[in-house]
């Protein structure tokens, strides 16, 4: 059924349709309305789940360690400082191989205090072993939550679905909300390989020594890398069931492109307009939308970007002393190629600053003109 809903409510519907059994969360702008809606769904009976109120994000995720270990589908949502407070538990969830799904509304981190869109929060958790997916529209947010459970439970690894504060979280747009029967066929009930069971007692989270810890970590890595193939299959199954196409990284007008702009989140939508405008001006521009960021789909990125002369990556994040996070990973993915594109970096949209099609076009024209310095990010729109 098509409805006009906000990105946050798209998440709530995704969680409801996934028949999540336990939700635990602590409010933080701009995430709060996700769990507000979910608590109303629990209260009205639209969702048969236990909603656990807690005193912090650390406890929210810790509570889910319990529920997921007990073998039920579990969900939380957060943003910014809330995600940072979860940091220790994020690692634990991954190591414990718990298929928890977390919706993170990408919000800037303090200080200074800023509630607006910025990817630094989830970027700073990229090395916790969680699978990371970045979304561009409310529809994609809803669909990604449902697909996230299928992926998480197949690999027994947690998945973080991220999307921009306000540009999606508080923006209403048309979303096709799937019917329950179709979702049930796509996403069967969660059957964990191990769970707390008095008839089959086990120990969870015990100490493991040097003789086996390495192998444990290797298995996490191996299964995370397997997500590339598994998620491709899940996207294919999703398309067959729901008619909507998703990829690990989407390419747009790249076939004859001489420059490709790489984006994640809502800047992608704006960049689609910029691609068409650039082509009207005679610049052969293509677009790669970065969707799966952990694990890194090295081969896929190389296949899309490897053949062009220039790539420019727009990061809505800035790591002090490094630069953009996405561009670092793209460069590292392309490095093994014998002949590789020159990869430029652009920083834009930090702390919720608007990024317009003219901004993306301006960045691309700067790169096309040959004036851009490959050693320094283009700090687009920076006030002197």
């Amino acid at each position: 059924m098509r409805q006009v809903i906000k990105g946050n409510h798209a998440v709530s519907h995704g969680v409801r349709l996934s028949k999540v059994k336990v939700i635990s969360a602590y409010p933080i702008t701009p995430q709060t309305t996700i769990v507000e809606e979910l608590s109303e769904m629990c209260a009205s009976g639209a969702l048969d789940a236990k909603f656990i109120k807690v005193e912090s994000e650390h406890s929210a995720l810790a509570a889910l360690i319990g529920s997921a270990t007990a073998g039920v589908r579990s969900f939380t949502a957060t943003s910014s400082q809330g995600l940072l407070l979860m940091h220790e538990v994020l690692h634990w969830v991954c190591g414990a191989r718990l298929p928890i799904v977390l919706a993170n509304v990408n919000r800037a981190v303090g200080a200074g205090w800023n509630i607006w869109a910025d990817q630094t929060d989830s970027i700073s958790q990229r090395d916790t072993g969680w699978i990371q997916i970045y979304c561009e529209s409310n529809q994609e947010v809803l669909d990604s939550v449902i697909m996230a459970y299928k992926l998480a439970e197949k690999l027994m690894l947690p998945v973080m679905v991220s999307y921009d504060a306000f540009f999606l979280s508080h923006t209403s747009e048309v979303v096709d909300i799937p019917d329950q029967d179709t979702v049930d066929q796509f996403l069967p009930p969660f059957e964990p390989p191990h769970k707390v069971d008095f008839a089959d007692p086990r120990m969870f989270g015990g100490m493991i020594g040097p003789e086996i810890y390495y192998e444990e970590r290797y298995c996490i890595h191996k299964d995370a890398m397997a997500a590339i193939k598994t998620y491709s299959e899940i996207c294919q199954q999703f398309q067959e069931a729901f008619g909507r196409e998703y990829a690990l990284a989407e390419s747009y007008m790249v076939d004859d492109a001489e420059i490709i702009v790489v984006t994640a989140g809502t800047i992608t939508s704006v960049a689609r307009i910029a691609v068409r405008k650039a082509r009207e001006k005679g610049i052969k521009l293509g677009l790669m939308k970065l969707r799966l960021f952990r694990p890194v789909p090295y081969e896929l990125w190389r296949g899309i970007l490897g053949g062009v002369n220039k790539v420019v990556v727009i990061d809505r994040n800035l790591i002090g002393g490094v630069g953009g996070a996405f561009v670092s990973e793209i460069r590292s993915a392309l490095f093994p190629l014998e002949k590789r594109p020159v990869v430029y970096s652009a920083i834009a949209g930090l702390g919720g600053r608007d990024v317009t099609p003219a901004d993306v076009l301006g960045i691309v024209e700067h790169v096309a003109s040959g004036k851009a310095d490959v050693d320094t990010p283009i700090f687009w729109g920076l006030k002197e």
């Binding site: 098509r2 006009v4 306000f166 540009f167 508080h170 923006t171 747009e173 048309v174």
Partner: protein, 185 residues
Amino acid sequence: MQEIRFHGRGGQGAVVGSETLAHAFFLEDKFVQAFPAFGVERRGAPVMAFCRVDDTPINLRNQIYEPDHIVVLDSSLLETVNVTEGLKKGGCVVINGRRPGQYYRSKIGEDFKVFLVDAGRIAVEHGLGSVTNPIVNTAILGAFAKATGLVSIEAVEKAIMEYVPVKRDGNRLAARAAYEKAKAI
């Protein structure tokens, strides 16, 4: 694509107004987008909300800088906010106010169409808010439908019945009354 910017004061319901309008367009099979100016709103402070409508999916995700039409929920904003900033020539300015039309025309200038309705009075007559704090966000949508012809009053009424959280009948009748009473000046 048509882009509409709402000007109101925190607590007046500009955001719900823009969302309800988007819902009305959606009922007429359009693609829509509605969002607030992303800020930390305070009651009484000037706020903005936005609505986009198109026949195809909308990829623009930045704020609206050059709107096609403007909705002003509180005419006192004309004293402090340049509400027509970026407004395209010939665009409609739909104002909730009770002074003579000439007053608003002199404020807005001659480049735009101006439609006036006393949405505050209509709201109070329909039990929406109080004399000092009338809730005008649905009534003004009726005036918008009349002024622009972009959306039918029937779609606005249906959207109110489906979307507005409280006093649906009062809100619907207020929109209809404002539709009938809005006048070009």
